[in-house]
Symmetry: C2
Subunit: 480 residues, 2 copies
């Protein structure tokens, strides 16, 4: 494909995408396919000869879209949403076109430099303590990881390295057998998985009535483990758990971690972004105690995937664990005398895309106010949905609604709610994912898609009520 | 930005990208900026109010392009190149627009299903043994990781888990203290880093005169370590080392790994792709012995970043190490009775983009022949460059030229060649990165950009000769 063809087909794809968004409400969000559907629709082998753009495009609807779950649909209310926006898409096109690898300053100076600035911009928007910013001139700073999973894995590996260095009287394996990490039983699976991959024990601690991890619970666990000769070294705290968007009590947990010389990592993947609104800044109160803090702009700041923003107070903890020095990476004018971070030493992978470029497009084209407005709109819509739920006395709210997610259920047992969840998704007009906390199965209504309106909220509620009617009637019939 | 504006600005960006490619030869590949240049050019804080697309675009040249190292320039010959192509860019636009998260089948059926098919297509193109393909109906299969770094880290963690399970008489830490991984001293840093992050010892073994790791070297190391009571468990073999594109002797190494019950992972990030050409298939001869094998379509198969293809013979080794079961991920019609892989259990991260979609665009729009032609063209151009080097008796070739990279140097010491490397890059007309193997410093000429022509090769050589002339003259002058 030459550049003239790229102009034509690229423009065609831009219009296909615009049409897709314009007509998203006319598609059911949930596909109706069985496992193995796609293999029957395409050849068993790659084509020998080149096919045309039109050949591929012809199959888009019949092969691909047929089996897509439409995460950008205003009728998609599952999981935690993924942010996306047109400014991000346009920035991303340029990221792809430049196709650079920014593992060191010299390998693409603009990328490292813009990342440093964007991480400071974002940090200021969140009103993070100065010490997390490059502009403070201290040891802190930010880095774009790809996902919150990468961020917490980087944190726990760095914390593990620090602990091993602090216990020179033991072999690494002996230390490892004694290290204990903590998180709440409500925390995202990535924290548990990071511990599993780092080969350290993790304890999933119980939470209070608001699904929040409290200081006294952590303190008791630490005391118990220390009495067994174990070494508490890491807390994975949550700002916005996956299930109920609960917020751990950072102001209680932080001082305990400080006292115990433990690394406190905060996973604020979704909810952390709310802190750009002054009235919601409280969600990260206590961040000043953390060793590292992460949120995903690809979750609620309209940067599309993948973009996880991670800040640390002391970048040396990271670089000591993640540096590997080899000659072909040393082609750096100022090696050993650099003020710019060599980001390859802040992460798992050597290679890294120019992600800061799309962050720059988003922050400029929305402006801080624009991003605040979007978050406030989502919170308002969630509150609207909560009001609808509260207006139907067959239903109840499961967790306090503070941000863009509503956890609710039919009054009744788990079986009833599992059946409701199944019926709603089988119906296919709206997509919800259920969850379970403290043994209670419930449904979740998530607001994150950029073009969702109040009418989409009432539409979803009407579908849910309709399915609840049918379910409850069928139960009455079965009982009579 | 509404959809009408997206049509306008998206089209504008398509044309900006086309213009960029059309005029790439008129840009110097290497930027001329000092560390910290960018912070001086942009505000200290994110804008409060939204700015227009035109505002952002106005800054593209003055802020961003000013500091970009142009990896897509036909005068860029550094590192190992990154593939890119217009079909990949167009596919990527749709990936971004759909903005899905394909961690399980149900979270986007089309994504998982297409990935299964694309990994089989690619595997067939490489003539991989059947047992690596899903279509065999066995335990093998492929997955798209993001980078070769992820692939080798996944492999070493899975191997470590397997070893720990095999030594139930010891604690995980005790086993860990005894595990030994091996790789060659020429291997990519990601193998060494993976061992560091997995907290296992790694030995960097010496290579033969062709920079290739040989069986007897590995066998001797294993014997030595076993005599110390250590547990050899993993070999990170290279098909195409970073420095000289050397290929380890898989047919010697493989049987040793089999006999010793060691995991053999092959990192074929760049060179592995050559195997789609029958006459170059030899580069992966011995792949049948491997437990896992990886190559990056984003390096030489014209899929832009990030796309690392990884195959395993037994996917259970991976999923046993990488599964974390939590309720909110169980919303799967066929949970526990599924034929499709839940790819979240094959990798570090929970989240994953719909990368197979751009692979599908590329494989169809190039066709197997088109991709073979590109690889053959790059090999031919590298041979042309080698001929030019051999025609100038001040220079010598450092390593056998089989693929798209030429390692060469001035006859003379490391200091002379360091100076030549510095002068070429300071000159800025072409970009090369040097390397060092067996103590010898040399330059590398890499061919990977899709639109490079024979005239670009002769141009680069003329710049190199010109700088060599100046350098050698200045030395004569200094001596006289």
């Amino acid at each position: 494909m030459d550049t003239e063809e790229f102009r034509r087909y690229g423009t065609d794809m831009v219009n296909y995408i615009a049409d897709y968004y314009d007509t998203l409400r006319s598609r059911l969000p949930t596909p109706d396919v069985q496992e193995g559907y796609l293999r029957k629709l395409i050849p068993e082998q790659a084509p020998t000869e080149a096919e045309s753009y039109d050949d591929v495009k012809k199959d888009l609807e019949d092969v691909i879209m047929k089996g897509v779950l439409h995460w950008r649909s205003p009728h998609f209310h599952g999981y935690i949403g993924i942010a996306g926006s047109f400014p991000a898409l346009i920035g991303d096109m340029l990221v792809g076109a430049l196709s650079s690898n920014s593992f060191s300053w010299v390998s693409n100076p603009a990328s490292t430099e813009l990342e440093v600035c964007m991480m400071d911009w974002l940090g200021q928007m969140l009103n993070l303590p100065e010490e997390f910013l490059f502009s403070s001139g201290g040891k802190g700073g930010g880095v774009i990881q790809r996902t919150a999973d990468d961020s917490v894995l980087v944190a726990i590996i760095a914390a593990r390295s620090r602990s091993i260095r602090q216990h020179k009287d033991m072999t690494p394996g002996q230390t490892l057998d004694k290290l204990v990490a903590y998180t709440s039983e409500e925390a995202h699976s990535c924290i548990k998985k990071a511990a599993q991959l780092a080969l350290v024990t993790i304890r999933n601690l119980p939470t209070d009535a608001n699904f929040s991890l409290r200081g006294e619970t952590l303190a008791a666990a630490i005391k118990e483990d220390k009495s067994k000769g174990l070494i508490p070294f890491f807390l994975g705290a949550s700002v916005g758990t996956t299930s109920t968007i609960a917020i751990d009590n950072l102001c209680e947990l932080g001082p305990i971690c400080e006292r115990e010389n433990m690394w406190m990592h905060i996973d604020g993947a979704y909810a952390g972004s709310a802190a750009i609104c002054p009235e919601l800044r409280y969600v990260i109160n206590g961040v000043e105690y953390s060793t590292s803090f992460c949120l995903n702009p690809h979750k609620w700041l309209h940067v599309n995937k993948s973009c996880s923003a991670m800040w640390v107070k002391n970048r040396e903890f990271i670089t000591e664990a993640f540096s590997v020095d080899v000659e072909y990476l040393k082609n750096h004018k100022l090696h050993g005398d650099t003020t710019m971070p060599d980001y390859r030493n802040w992460q798992i992978q050597l290679s890294r895309p120019f992600t800061s470029l799309k962050v720059w497009f988003v922050l400029r084209m929305f402006g801080v106010k624009g991003l605040q407005d979007r978050i406030r709109k989502d919170v308002t819509l969630a509150k609207e949905f909560e009001t609808l739920v509260l207006g139907d006395d067959r239903f109840e709210i499961v967790a306090e609604v503070n941000l863009g997610v509503v956890c609710f259920k039919l009054k009744g047992d788990n079986g009833l709610n599992r059946e409701l969840s199944k019926r709603i998704n089988d119906d296919r007009r709206v997509y919800l994912t259920p969850s379970i906390s403290k043994g209670v199965f419930f449904l979740r209504f998530v607001v994150t898609v950029h073009n969702i309106e109040s009418s989409d909220v009432t539409y979803a509620w009407s579908v849910i009520q309709e399915q609840a009617d049918l379910l409850l009637k069928s139960q009455v019939n079965a009982a009579s």
